[in-house]
């Protein structure tokens, strides 16, 4: 019994430090460290104390119960967007249009509030959730279809759709019945009544996390998704429905982005501003990269980004470092975590081997 246990443990340890895997595993931590150092250098170069700034950030994020609540409030949409990006990239396309999808979803929520204001609250809530998801899904399907059927670069279409939906929202919140009568010049919508309580939001996110893990790891569509994402040609040859799978991933990604929008509007703001999602746009990408597309990894990554966001308030009150440093840190995290350490080390050893081979060749001659 004891022997068996030690054997399993040894096996686990060996698996953990496998030479080809270890670089892969530590690369997010290296990326995080590098980006903190890089942002720290920027802070130091401007004559402030970087350590002090990081301490203030940490205290602001996790120092008290209210700040932890604040951190979790920022974490939720970021996490959902991370899942959304991750599921789409499993399907093999690059969903950077979550911002536009969130605007589309929010727009439809406001439409429901505006044109059906007398519905009973629960019915209205359900209708809103459905409408929000549908709007985001439609926005996600356009690039998926144009990419899959016509080979158009999806990143470009997503970026353009982001701007189109942003401008559409700006127009509608200035010149239509959706406009808030109190705000004359600033684009803002009418108040949205139904409310999701914080507890319900937490439970919902945990449920989504569990469903997501089950879907990706244990279900048939999840398996298909993984196969199509890793090797489309092979999946096609084995008779998998490639088109459906890719469109399915787009629908799932759009739905998650719609949920993020719903959680923001119904859970936090209860009103839609024209740029409420602009800061969130690429955080989903960062989360998916830093969490290496692993659901739990992404949870930690989004907690980290949420903590950065939550801590930035403390930064501006206690130190003279401007809270904008947070977005610099985020940018650096995205930048460094896009490098896969395993690939890099593989390249270096490859070139070393090649050089050695050439040397031997020359010596033999």
């Amino acid at each position: 019994m004891k022997q068996k246990l030690t054997d399993t443990l040894r096996g686990l340890w060996k698996e953990l430090i496998r030479k080809d895997k270890i670089a892969h595993r530590i690369s997010p931590f290296v990326a995080l460290l590098l980006s903190l150092v890089a942002a720290g250098l920027v802070v130091t170069a401007t004559g402030a104390n970087a350590l002090e700034a990081y301490t203030a950030l940490f205290k602001g994020a996790l120092g008290s119960v209210s700040s932890i609540k604040q951190t979790i409030r920022y974490t939720i949409p970021i996490f959902l967007l991370g899942l959304s990006f991750s599921v789409c990239s499993r399907g093999g396309f690059f969903a950077i249009g979550q911002e536009g999808q969130m605007y589309a979803a929010a727009l439809l929520l406001v439409c429901v509030q505006c044109y059906l204001p007398h519905l009973p609250q629960p019915l209205m809530m359900i209708l809103m959730v459905i409408c929000g998801i549908v709007a985001a899904v439609v926005c996600a399907l356009i690039p998926a279809i144009t990419k899959h059927y016509f080979g158009v670069n999806e990143a470009m279409v997503f970026v353009m759709l982001n701007y189109i939906s942003l401008l559409l929202v700006e127009y509608l919140f200035l010149h239509s019945p959706l406009r808030n009568p109190d705000s004359a010049s600033y684009p803002k919508s009418i108040a949205v009544a139904p409310t999701i309580s914080t507890v319900a939001l937490y439970i919902g996110v945990i449920a989504i996390l569990i469903l997501f893990i089950l879907l990706i790891k244990k279900s048939i569509p999840g398996y298909r998704l993984r196969m199509v994402g890793q090797n489309t040609a092979y999946a096609k040859a084995s008779g998998l429905p490639v088109t459906q799978t890719i469109l399915f991933s787009a629908v799932l990604g759009g739905g998650l982005a719609g949920l993020a929008s719903i959680s923001e509007v119904l859970g936090v703001y209860h009103v839609v501003y024209n740029n409420f999602a602009s800061a969130l746009g690429f955080k989903g990408v960062t989360v998916a990269l830093l969490g290496m597309h692993n659901p739990l990894g992404m949870l930690f990554a989004s907690l980290l980004l949420g903590a950065l966001q939550g801590g930035s308030v403390m930064l501006s009150t206690t130190t003279d470092v401007s809270p904008e440093i947070v977005s610099v840190v985020e940018g650096f995290i995205m930048f460094f975590s896009s490098v896969n350490l395993a690939v890099m080390i593989g390249r270096i050893t490859d070139s070393r081997k090649r050089r050695k081979y050439h040397k031997e060749e020359r010596a033999a001659q």
Binding site: F94, N153, M156, Y171, M334
Partner: protein, 326 residues
Amino acid sequence: MNITQLLGLTVRLLVPTLLVALGGIFSFRIKVFPLGLEGYMLAGCFLAVTGTYLFGSPYLGMAFAAILVMLLALIFAFFVIELSVNPVICAFAINTIVAGMTRFLMIPVFGSSGRIYLDSALALPRFQVPIIKSIPIVADIFNNHSALVYVALLLPFVIQFVYYKTNYGLSLRATGAYEEAAVAVGISTRKVRYIALMTTGCLAGLGGAQLSLTANLFNVGMTDGRGFTALAAIVLSAGEPIRAFLGCILFGLCDALVLNLSSEGIPIQFLSMLPYILAILFAVMPPVIRKLSERTAFSKLQLRIRQNDPEILASRAFHHSVNSEE
């Protein structure tokens, strides 16, 4: 505001976008989608104002911006070429970093946040061009601009020449079209790629510099999607410099109209949307048309087979006989 004033404004507004778009074409040609243009442009704006502020001359500021943004592009190129990072992610990371950095560095560098005005003595000098000055309508449109405007208006033709008449242009097109073949004929594709990506940075930085120095100010987020408008122009042109020039003229006109109409309370959002809508349409239409025409050709062929078209039957019989002889 009359038409000639509007066109003069158009010329002024189209130049930053044009420079950025021409830079982006170099990346587009080697199949690296230039999504980092927005970040490069914003960095160019900020660095040009900083350089002008530090060195006391707008031209030095411009050079400062162009060189530093080129270095930024070099980092991007290193990540994409050597570390095989996904260029889309890397580009957006650069956009995020630049947006954050420009906000963050405002206070340490200029001591104010949000917006910084340069001293009017540091404004870009404007030129009276000898011949153009004396022609009545043309003078209103093309006279009294800064130096880079005239350079930028000639640049599409220069770049057209570079693409189609020089060795580098040929290598660039070969690398983009079929990299293995380019390697096989002895082109150093790595060098070609580095030069292309760095030229993108340099020109985009200049475009940003032009944007901020013409207005003589920097404010946070001042590019406001212009980098992506340039990207739209590139998509419209499918990588042809002169067509990109035409696209930029259209978008510049839209921009000028937006500036004019917004003060009159007319909704201008749809006009600002135009570049993005056109970009999607122009990206999607050619493959759709190709696919549809392929489909109709195919169905026509099938129809002829079904109707026992004598020509088809004859060719089938011919192929059959050839095959059976073997």
